[in-house]
């Protein structure tokens, strides 16, 4: 007897790690957005490093909507670091779980 139906069923249940990984990454990119003083920012290492290195406590930064937003450096830095850490931690955990899943 042919194994074809069994193979078809296995393919049907298979899940594509690369597609799942890409969709998860896009969700994380969404989650990395954070609001501050009416502006929307996508938190990334460059932004955190820039704010950390800025010598004055008040600065103005362009948000994702191309508006200049007044930033309280200390408040923004702490919030952004916490936000970044939480989301990246979530990404790492979910990514590790995804790696194990080959069929659903």
């Amino acid at each position: 007897m042919s194994d074809l139906p069994k193979i078809v069923e296995q393919v049907r249940l298979a899940t594509d790690f690369n597609v799942n990984r890409q969709i998860l990454r896009e969700k994380i990119q969404t989650d990395l957005h954070m609001t501050h003083n009416g502006g929307m920012f996508r938190i990334n290492p460059e932004l955190i490093a820039f704010v950390q290195g800025w010598p004055i406590d008040t600065l103005y930064m362009e948000d994702v909507y191309q508006n200049p937003i007044e930033i309280d450096r200390q408040v923004f830095l702490v919030t952004a670091q916490q936000h970044y850490h939480r989301v990246m931690n979530e990404w790492h955990q979910q990514h590790a779980e995804l790696r194990k899943i080959r069929k659903v």
Binding site: N20, L24, L98
Partner: protein
């Protein structure tokens, strides 16, 4: 004595759902309202539009055209009892609170111009080869401002004169769609520009075609007739009306709410 305290603005979700002979959209909206209450902590109003029209859509479940009453999205401004409103299609299920953060931004209305299909190749992002970029009326946000009122009035005008606007903007598809009317109205209202500051910074996630099952744990595990997908717990636009109107939706929502409660307890 005068009360100088600033009054708090009301905020909520409006779901458009008009039943047809084939599909009980209101029952889908009711289940979505449970998810919204859980994830967004917002009240929901389900609206059956007056100006629904009667059209046909191609059902990816059955492979034939079925009745479709989905014209009245321009009624959102009048129909919403809230100062700040998230408007959703019944089939855009809420599984996270990402929409809530958008209210921290300054806007009159906020649209989604990006979509990501889970289970098929990505589609063209314009309304025709020489037309405007696509906008998804599946989900949008607005505040009750004069500019928003103008926007919805313009959408209504485009709907009334759709044959004219369709030709003017080279829309390929003959069917009226709220998506097209939104894209044209947005373009006109912004002085013939795309005004990207009115677009949400992220996309809508869509599953098209037939769905066999969706289960929720830390992830959403989706099975279609051809493939399995493991998705993050994120808002999901599900096209399969036959799955959405089956008891499976109720089970999924129950599962989601139970999982979240269990996580909170632990």
């Amino acid at each position: 004595m005068q009360n100088s305290a600033k009054s708090e603005k009301s905020r909520g979700v409006v779901i458009f759902a008009t039943n047809t002979a084939e599909t009980d959209y209101v029952s889908i909206a009711e289940q979505n309202a449970r998810l919204i209450e859980h994830f967004l902590k917002l009240p929901t109003t389900i609206v059956s539009a007056k100006d629904t029209g009667s059209n046909q859509r191609f059902s990816t479940d059955t492979g034939r055209f079925v009745e479709w009453k989905n014209f009245g999205r321009h009624e959102a401004y009048e129909a919403s009892p809230y100062d700040e409103t998230i408007v959703l299609d019944a089939d855009y299920l809420v599984f996270d609170n990402s929409l809530l953060g958008l209210f921290e931004c300054s806007f009159d209305y906020l649209l989604f111009d990006k979509n990501r299909y889970v289970n098929i190749d990505q589609q063209a992002s314009t309304m025709g080869p020489h037309s405007l970029p696509y906008i998804w009326a599946t989900a949008f946000l607005f505040r009750k401002t004069e500019r928003s009122r103008l926007f919805f009035e313009l959408v209504a005008k485009i709907k009334r004169n759709y044959d004219y606007y369709r030709l003017l903007y080279n829309v390929q598809e003959g069917n009226f769609r709220n998506d097209y009317a939104f894209a044209i109205a947005h373009y006109i209202l912004n002085g013939n520009s795309l005004a990207t500051e009115s677009f949400a910074p992220f996309h809508i996630l869509t599953v098209t075609g037939a769905v066999e099952s969706i289960t929720a744990s830390k992830n959403l595990v989706l099975r279609t007739p051809h493939k399995g997908h493991v998705l993050p717990l994120a808002n999901l636009h599900i096209m399969s009306k036959s799955w959405l109107t089956s008891p499976a939706l109720l089970l999924l929502v129950d599962q989601c709410l139970e999982n979240s409660t269990a996580t909170l307890v632990s």
